[in-house]
């Protein structure tokens, strides 16, 4: 049987649109040093390293090899995993399995992105089949726009509902010193008014209907690192370790055209699996906080339904009732989420790290003000792939 594992440390760089003062390896090293310092550990305490990113986003082949001097991988075991946007959670899961296997006690999980350096859309298009899909593909934004359109059509959701999600993410980001987009001007303005302003603004350019600039995530440079430790070390390393209660994923689709646009079925599948594994029967009640990979606003409506937090079509109600705000029953993205910072290779790992931060009680201004027993982290990418990791305050049985 395997070992139980917990996150005992998490570090991230301050996410910016462009970090010209450092190259990629140096950026990664900053996150690694931050994670180690936060856990009061040195690199000599680390038994193995896992790293991930998408090669064509930085134009580096074999990034685990290239970054060895910066990650601490010199004369250590290192492995690269990569699965598109889900890479960060894939990295977290890989680090978890390294520890749970009993082969390594303390494992460093690293995700990073120097988005400023690449043509992300150009690179994303190469994720699709060169013969069947690439010639006609519009990149990530267009794909998400199709989903948003269908959701609005099927359930009567409106632009205001989308904007309300954006407002939540932006307000939450104001509590997160690491977040990229911090719209300070929003402070103190009532939510309904903020929604009006966003929907009514002519500067708020339409990118692909119904998606406007305000509905989308930014392009960010940033790196993050999480330290996973086995049950033999976790309690010594952190006063409140964030235990991995369960982790699951579903990466069903291969071609963009295969994706089910009615419902996010892979997310639903991964969610059902994880709740079953962890014995969660009423997700809305039992989960205390979520860090979800919402790359755009309407996901904050629809995907809440697919996860099972509410019935189909009730996403907007959950939102407008304030359930997902910081003082609501289920705060979503206290960090500001992907819409506030998107260093893609790190983004999903940051969801895991932020969820861990909530359990560890280290969230400072963005700390949820209630006991956090369960924190759910989610990663999204590829053809609607879903990775889930449920962290708990209580050590799993």
């Amino acid at each position: 049987m395997g070992k139980r594992a917990a996150i005992v440390g998490f570090g991230q760089t301050h996410q910016r649109s462009s970090r010209k003062d450092v190259n990629g390896v140096e950026l990664i090293n900053e996150a690694v040093q931050a994670a180690l310092a936060g856990a009061d550990m040195g690199i000599e305490d680390i038994d193995a390293i896992v790293i991930g990113n998408m090669d064509h986003f930085e134009g580096i082949n074999y990034v685990d090899m290239w970054s060895a001097e910066g990650t601490g991988a010199v004369m250590r075991p290192v492995m690269k995993v990569t699965t598109g946007g889900t890479t960060g959670t894939t990295v977290a899961m890989c680090a978890y399995y390294h520890v749970a296997s009993g082969m390594f006690d303390k494992v460093l999980a690293i995700g990073w992105e120097k988005n400023s350096e690449s043509d992300t859309t150009g690179a994303i298009i190469t994720a699709f089949h060169p013969v069947w899909e690439r010639p006609s593909l519009g990149g990530a934004i267009a794909g998400l726009a199709i989903e948003a359109s269908k959701y609005m059509h099927d359930y009567g959701a409106t632009e205001r509902d989308g904007a309300r999600v954006a407002v939540r993410e932006r307000l939450h980001a104001l509590n997160n010193p690491f977040a990229h987009l911090r719209q300070e001007w929003m402070k103190g303005i009532p939510i309904a008014q903020l929604v009006d302003m966003i929907v009514g603004s002519e500067q708020n350019q339409v990118l692909a209907y119904p998606l406007r600039m305000s509905d989308m995530c930014p392009r960010t440079d940033g790196a993050a690192a999480a330290i996973f430790a086995s049950e033999d070390f976790a309690e010594k390393l952190a006063p409140v370790p964030a235990w991995v209660a369960a982790t699951t994923n579903a990466h069903n689709f291969v071609y963009a055209g295969d994706v089910n646009m009615d419902r996010n079925t892979t997310l639903a599948e991964a969610s059902k699996k994880i709740f079953k594994k962890a014995g969660i029967k009423e997700p809305l009640k039992e989960i205390d906080v979520c860090e979800l990979y919402l790359p755009y606003s309407y996901a904050g409506l629809k995907w809440m339904e697919d996860i099972g937090f509410c019935k189909y079509g009730e996403g907007p109600k959950l939102l407008w009732d304030g359930v997902t705000d910081m003082d609501g029953e289920l705060p979503v993205n206290p960090s500001g989420g992907v819409m506030s910072s998107n260093p893609i290779g790190a983004t999903a790992l940051i969801r895991v790290g932020e969820a861990a931060t909530q359990i560890m009680g280290k969230g400072s201004a963005r700390q949820v003000q209630r006991p956090v027993q369960y924190a759910l982290a989610h990663g999204f990418g590829g053809c609607y792939w879903a990775d889930m990791m449920l962290l708990s305050r209580k050590k799993p049985d």
Partner: protein
Amino acid sequence: MDKIAIVGVGQTKYERHKIDTFEEMVFEAATKALADAGGEIGDIDNVVTVSNDFWDGRTISSMAVQAAAGSWGKDISTVEGDGTFGALYGLMRILSGSFDTTLVVSHIKGSEGVMNLITNAMFDPIYQRGLGIDATSAAALQARVYMQATGYTEEDFAAVSVKNHGNAKNNPYAQLPKSITVADVMASRKIADPLKLYDCSPISDGAAAVILANQKGIKRFKKAPVWIRGVAHCADSYNLGYRDLARSRALKKAAAKAYQMAGITDPLRELDVAELYDAYSYMELMWMEGLGLAPEGKAAEMVRSGATAMGGKLPVNPSGGVLSSHPVLVAGMARLIEATLQVRGEAGGRQVKGARTALAQGINGPCGQAHCVFIVGS
């Protein structure tokens, strides 16, 4: 470590310019592994695919093969690195207690891209790439450092090529079975001095799969298990000029750990066969030394004496090795598959008589920066 076994293996033929798509190759390898194991896709609890975006010309290269790897409804992940690392991850996922069986499948189509440009992209974009360095020219630099440190000659390297191409004649999957002599190697076209054509591995396409299972999982299958007795991985530094290119200290470290797990104290005596990653001829000698199969500076002598030939004290690369087929990423998994077939007694014409314990090695990164070592046994 809990007992984990390899219960199924599958490989496509390795060759250039395969018509099959990535999905078709992966499906072939996966279904062959299932048939070999005597099981079905429903017996697989989770999947690990192995691929590389640059080699495939696809971001999220794993996406192309999800369905072909039978991952629908299953947990799945992707390692970007040699197949041995993928197999190791598949192993960890079982040891965690979450799954009883894992299918690991790797693929490559080396002929679809330009190897020199793809490997040039491994090098640092600021300091190295613009010089046009690639895997082969870097290997040539390493080969010369190695010659300087050991006194080995080009003929010593050639002997490895002769042995391995000759061995490939017994391997139906191999791309380049050949009867050649040292003189043939020495006369072959210069590629990057001191490396000549026959010192280099070919460009290959192919896929390979292994099925791993714990003691509960093996009951779903019919094939006799081959146990993983030890496994470890380790990386050296990236900056070529600041690595001792003549000594693979990362391999030494990984080997020591793998041997310790397997309870092996005298590898030369206790191993029956070894499958090593000879991407270039000189590498086989270097890895032998790193693995402690030969003292430093003595590997060439072992090859010359026939100790690593079929029928020798420790046959190395009965399959023909990577010099005979180099499907990048797949090649390490192929070494593991060959080691497994040896222990099963199913290696046909390339069988080492009575093989009970085998070693398989994979490498990753420029000049073998990282290594993964498996010890398997009956």
